[in-house]
């Protein structure tokens, strides 16, 4: 079924089809429409699910953890400060190995208050053990949300997963999308270590160094397995529904002399910049990084790349750009742009490419040197 929907609506539609048992969420701009839509689905009896109107995001995640541990499919959505307020429980969810699925609408962090898109909220959760993916279109939001339940809940993964979408520029943007009949694509929820009174055990008690170390190693083991699960799930999705997703989305990459690397909506608009540059005779390409955890194994050694970073680690560098430096032998031109919803057009992106200085960092639009 084809319809036109916002990114937030795309999330809600996917959740409706995944039929979670428990949703616990707290409103925050620009995520509110998601929870409101889910509340409406429940009120209209289209979704049979327990909605817990928690008093904070910390509790939202705690409730999802508790519910998941009893063997329930769970979902929550948040953004920005809501995500930060969950931080402790994000770590907990991963360590507890509960496959909670979350939509995070990327937004900047206060102070000053700022409700617009930025990736620092999600980046700042990069050590929590969550799978993270960034979508760039409403269709992709919807498709990825559907896959998220299957990936996170896979026996080989059993880690929570966060689907990111840019605040306003995707959450509130309407685009055409196709709703699919998911059929058995998302298997019923099953958690091998769900609470069972017939076999009572204590979850997460005090754990000595060596055992603790092994459980942490197991989390990383599952992260690594998730690469395969993701690949298989995305392949199956392509087979069944005809849309193909990979760790990254490549556009005109093959013969490109220079690559624009970005995430989220910037990564999509970069394709337009590529078209523009090609028209000017610059052989550009675009590489949109979809998966952030596990971080893709990119083969960019020796390539000329321009990374646009919508999130920053103060005293270190752009998070995407530094991640690429760490994982491949590239020396990117690191452009910091779009924090707090700063407007960046494909013209600007084309400029970044033209003006690139490999190995340097540039804060877009800031006059004095940073």
């Amino acid at each position: 079924m084809h319809l036109i929907a916002t990114g937030n609506k795309g999330v809600a539609e996917a959740v409706l089809q995944a039929q979670p048992d428990v949703v616990a969420a707290y409103p925050i701009t620009p995520q509110t429409e998601i929870v409101e839509q889910i509340a409406a689905f429940i009120s209209e009896k289209r979704l049979d699910c327990q909605y817990i109107p928690v008093e904070s995001e910390h509790s939202a995640m705690a409730a999802c953890i508790g519910a998941s541990a009893t063997g329930a499919r769970t979902f929550t959505a948040t953004s920005s400060h809501g995500l930060l307020y969950m931080h402790e429980m994000l770590h907990w969810a991963a360590g507890a190995r509960v496959p909670v699925v979350m939509a995070n609408v990327n937004r900047a962090l206060g102070p000053g208050w700022n409700v617009w898109a930025e990736h620092t909220d999600a980046f700042s959760q990069r050590d929590t053990g969550w799978l993270q993916v960034f979508a760039s279109t409403v269709q992709e939001v919807y498709d990825t949300m559907l896959m998220a339940f299957r990936i996170a809940e896979d026996e080989k993964v059993l880690l929570p997963m966060m689907v990111n979408l840019d605040g306003f520029s995707l959450s509130h943007t309407m685009q055409p999308m196709e709703k699919i009949e998911t059929g058995t694509f998302i298997p019923p929820f099953s958690l091998p270590h769900a609470i069972d009174t017939l076999h009572p055990v204590a979850y997460g008690p005090l754990t000595g160094p060596d055992e603790y170390f092994r459980f942490r190693a197991d989390m990383e083991r599952s992260m690594r397995s998730s690469r395969l699960v993701i690949r298989d799930t995305e392949a199956e999705f392509a087979r069944l529904f005809g849309r193909t997703y990979r760790e990254t989305e490549e556009y005109q990459v093959e013969d490109a002399d220079v690559l624009l690397v970005a995430m989220g909506t910037f990564g999509k608009e970069a394709e337009v910049a590529v078209d523009k540059l090609r028209k000017e005779g610059i052989k550009a390409g675009s590489l949109r990084v979809r998966w952030f955890r596990p971080f893709p194994r990119l083969d960019l050694a020796g390539r000329d790349i321009v990374v646009i970073d919508r999130g920053y680690s103060f005293g270190f560098g752009g998070v995407l750009s530094m991640s690429i430096r760490a994982t491949s032998r590239a020396e990117p031109y690191s452009v910091i742009a779009g924090l707090g919803g700063q407007e960046v057009t494909y013209h600007d992106m084309a400029d970044f490419v033209r003006d690139r200085k490999p190995g340097k960092e540039y804060w877009f639009g800031v006059k004095d040197d940073v």
């Binding site: 036109i4 520029s169 943007t173 309407m174 685009q175 608009e269 337009v272």
Partner: protein, 175 residues
């Protein structure tokens, strides 16, 4: 690609109007996107909406620089905002106003959406809601059909007054 910029204030229905417009275009077999930019999310604060209509998928998220059409839901906004900024040469302007308005080098169309909304009692918390009548007026402009516009409205609102308002605005726009 046809690009439309809508200027309004929080509470007037600019965001919804943009969404309805994109929906109507989509129903007409086009690709369309609609995205808002709020200054602050509050009644009264200036809001800009961007609607793009195209035959191919649209990959641009940034704001429209050179609109083909500018819509002004709140003429008073023109004191604070340059509504002509980037408007294409000869690009049209639709203004919510009971009176005609002259803007050099641009065709300007007007329609009293506020009056229509008030007449239909489409008022929420004291503010007339202009989204559905606007859609009627834009249908008159031709890039979505009235049928598509009404279908989009029906999908979102159950109250028939919205349809009525759209139809009146369709009629009243001084094309």
């Amino acid at each position: 690609m046809y690009e439309i910029r809508i200027h309004s204030r929080g509470g007037q229905g600019g965001v919804t109007a943009a969404r309805l417009l994109a929906d109507a275009a989509f129903r007409g077999g086009k690709y369309a996107t609609a995205s808002p930019f709020y200054g602050a999310e509050r009644r009264g604060a200036p809001v800009v909406d961007f609607v793009r209509i195209n035959d191919r998928p649209i990959r641009i998220y940034s704001q429209i620089e050179h609109p083909d059409l500018v819509v002004v839901l709140d003429p008073s906004i023109m004191d604070a905002v340059d509504i002509l900024q980037g408007l294409k040469k000869g690009g049209s302007i639709v203004i919510n106003s009971p009176k005609p308005l002259e803007i050099p080098r641009h065709p300007v169309f007007h329609v009293d959406l506020t009056g229509i909304a008030i007449a239909q009692n489409l008022v929420v918390a004291g503010s007339p809601v202009l989204d559905t009548p606007l859609l009627g007026a834009l249908a008159k402009m031709g890039f979505v059909s009235l049928d598509a516009a009404l279908a989009a409205i029906r999908d979102m609102f159950s109250d028939e007054r919205n349809i009525k308002a759209a139809e009146i605005a369709f009629r009243e726009l001084n094309l």
